[in-house]
Symmetry: C2
């Protein structure tokens, strides 16, 4: 088994995936506007030797349920949502190894500006940033940021592929490693800084990058696409993918599929790391953990869960009776989440309420409940049975669940030798591929744009 | 005389306005990618009781001189340029009062995304951010971020005015102050969060803001426009303007003009604070200060100065002999900077080299050289003769010049009672208008969009 990678999954708002849990007495979500909250959290994660923290993001909001944003607002369901890029430098300033994964959309960010943001953060964090590339699904984002309607799903992926190409050219090909000379006459040698000359279908970027080469150049690339177009993009470009499978067999199948696609795309299948979304409720004993989980379950808010689920699927769940099983419905999103639940337990006829109770704690990933030993057993079982590389840990109760994990589960995992006790390699890419691999691997499509010290393309 | 406001003027790159000075042995510009550099700097400024730091920005680069970016790259002349927004949270986390002014362009940032960035930072800094609104002048920015050519100058200001209106609606009118209730059932009361319904000529933003109301709501608005369209925008919207006059009479005239325009726009003329750009080279004695200034002067790089000047004016200065006076030339930028220099000293025929030597230290603002007492005398003289409110302090040598100012000049100004010894009011707006004025004043055009607790527009 490979070393278990651990990321925390979070959101710059009062609540992320769990519905109604912000009302728990231990929940710290109400402090999301406080810098101190985030710097404390960063230090907690570094004490637990986490590889990084991932910030989801949503430039739209959930307004499908009941045709209104009301249920989402009432549950703080991913709205309000602050910009996650802006908290990173504070969290980086109190840590030395923790990585930062940031979600950004290729549909609403211009590559020239976005490439600069990532380069800036990669400089300031000394190589600790990653990009979770999304194409955005919410109509509300298109209405407020675009021209009133979304680009069709498949074309969004064509835009994403060209967006990535522009970014690679800026990150890998504009500033040579030896461009900054500081030789007493010149800060940079102009002959070593190159215009990228990009003229494509969606973007025209003829000039040079505004930022000199950062430690990692290209940030570590993450992807979570579930559609066939999304899987193809992930197989070609992602260095790690997020999964949210509901069962071990389903996850094992996803892992085989994405690594097969990566091989077809000419990459080493082992280059694609897989991180499964999963939540943990841990206490010193199984009994106390289950009691705690029950206290969480009682707080799950049906409308808050359905506001999210309707937003993700594009299907207004208010049209269904909460307690009547409903047939498999193909939604207007790429993924059929109703099918997903039914696959998990083919003999069960899922009702909307079943779904709400399931996703209300930690979203669509599973939740493990138990003592440190029980949780460690299960985490290891998930890894060995599926070939994944680690976990993207959600939470029910903000801060508290992750603090319990750091205090209780991490020491148990360290005793078993499946997580590290000390960091090796400060950059985020080294956390995936080992010390020394700071830049894109040679099998990655972005690497063909790399100019180290000579003109190469 | 009003309290002297002090801001540091800086840039997220190895060099800002001064040309060639990055080569000085004391210069710290080479550390611009280091978080520690910026957090140390923030603490230095807070020890000096500065009101804030201002980050200029440039999403293009200077490629007018010799038709190439080469001279700019060789001098690090505002290129490379990291994104200033991303360092703020780290600097804010080690300070409690220092304000942060950020330059952002209404031509290349969508108001929905930009409003969110400012709201996020206003939350994280607890009300310490300001926006230096620019419309961007560089063709290189248009080529790399836009559709190949710039929007005409006057229309850029029409775009800016509508952009601001969208931002006001998002900041002031979407989330009521009492929208977040956390009453055990609801995080926010949906009836207190409003769609802004903006449908204009350049932007369509029908929905609600992604962020709840931040301490200041609208960040403090700064402007520096020199053209008539720019002055009109500043008079209507700016809470403070930046000037870079080269002489006291010229500055006094500018102050009268902008306050007159503000009064015509229905505002209290005193609502428009004026901050003059100016650099200081200070040492314990006049003699040592002048020797230090001479050591700076010898390092000024002609091509680096001309790369900047040509970029600002749009006039390729390489076509002129450096040592032959040249006639007044109207440039393709809004401001005629050649005229500006000639007005400063009507009897002098300026050569390109004269201009390079002048702007090579601290840009187009004047540079004061002397002992703490001499510098304090001159700063007070500039204020009393012109009616300005303070200074935006540039530098020749990064960190060192401002550190000298904090160590030598600030105590002298404190002894004279013209700057404060302790902060009053933590937000940036309170630093302009006094404790308690956290939100836009009633005479500001943005205030008509404010919803505190009832629907008002």
């Amino acid at each position: 088994m490979t070393r278990m990678r651990l990321f925390a999954f979070d959101f710059q708002g009062p609540a992320h995936l769990s519905a109604g849990l912000w009302r728990h007495q231990d929940d710290q979500g109400g402090r999301y506007t406080s810098l101190r909250y985030w710097t404390d959290y960063a230090q907690l994660l570094e004490r637990g030797r986490f590889d990084g923290i991932f910030f989801a993001d949503n430039v739209g909001y959930h307004d499908v349920y009941q045709g209104s944003v009301a249920a989402a607002l009432a549950d703080g369901a991913q709205v309000p949502a602050n910009d996650p890029f802006l908290v990173v430098s504070a969290m980086a300033s109190v840590t030395t190894h923790l990585g930062f994964g940031l979600t950004a959309s290729t549909s609403y960010e211009h590559p020239y500006a976005l490439a600069r943001r990532f380069s800036t953060l990669d400089h300031l964090t000394e190589g600790r940033v990653g990009w979770n590339l999304v194409t955005s699904y919410a109509d509300s984002a298109a209405r407020n940021l675009g021209n009133g309607h979304q680009v069709p799903h498949d074309e969004r992926y064509d835009v994403a592929a060209e967006h990535l190409e522009v970014c690679y050219k800026l990150w890998e090909g504009s500033w040579q490693d030896d461009a900054v000379v500081r030789d007493g006459h010149r800060y940079a040698d102009p002959a070593r800084v190159h215009d990228i000359g990009h003229r494509g279908r969606y973007f025209t970027v003829p000039g040079l990058a505004l930022c000199e080469a950062s430690p990692q150049r290209t940030p570590v690339l993450f992807q979570a696409g579930g559609s066939s177009k999304g899987q193809a993009l992930a197989a070609a470009h992602a260095e790690a993918i997020f999964t949210n499978a509901v069962s071990i067999p389903a996850l094992a199948g996803q892992v085989r599929k994405v690594r097969g696609l990566a091989a077809e795309a000419g990459r080493d299948p082992g280059s694609v790391k897989v991180l499964q979304m999963l939540s943990v409720v841990c206490a010193p004993t199984d009994e106390v953990a289950h009691a705690r989980y029950e206290s969480y379950r009682r707080l799950v808010a049906y409308a808050g869960a359905m506001a999210r689920y309707s937003g993700w699927t594009g299907l207004d769940m208010s049209q269904f009776d909460p307690d009547v099983p409903f047939a498999h419905v193909r939604t207007n999103a790429g993924q059929t989440m109703v099918d997903l639940f039914s696959r998990m337990d083919p003999d069960k006829q899922w009702t909307p309420r079943d779904i709400a109770e399931f996703i209300g704690i930690g979203g669509t990933g599973p939740t493990l409940v138990g003592s440190p030993s029980t949780v460690a057993d299960e985490l290891i079982h998930w890894m060995t049975e599926t070939g994944i590389d680690g976990f993207n840990l959600g939470h029910a109760v903000k801060y508290r669940d992750i603090a319990d994990f750091v205090e209780l589960v991490v020491p148990e995992l360290q005793r078993r030798g499946v997580v590290w006790s000390e960091y090796e390699g400060p950059t985020l890419r080294e956390k995936l591929y080992g010390p020394g691999t700071v830049r894109l691997r040679g099998d990655h499509p972005g690497s063909r744009f790399t100019r180290t010290s000579v003109s190469a393309w």
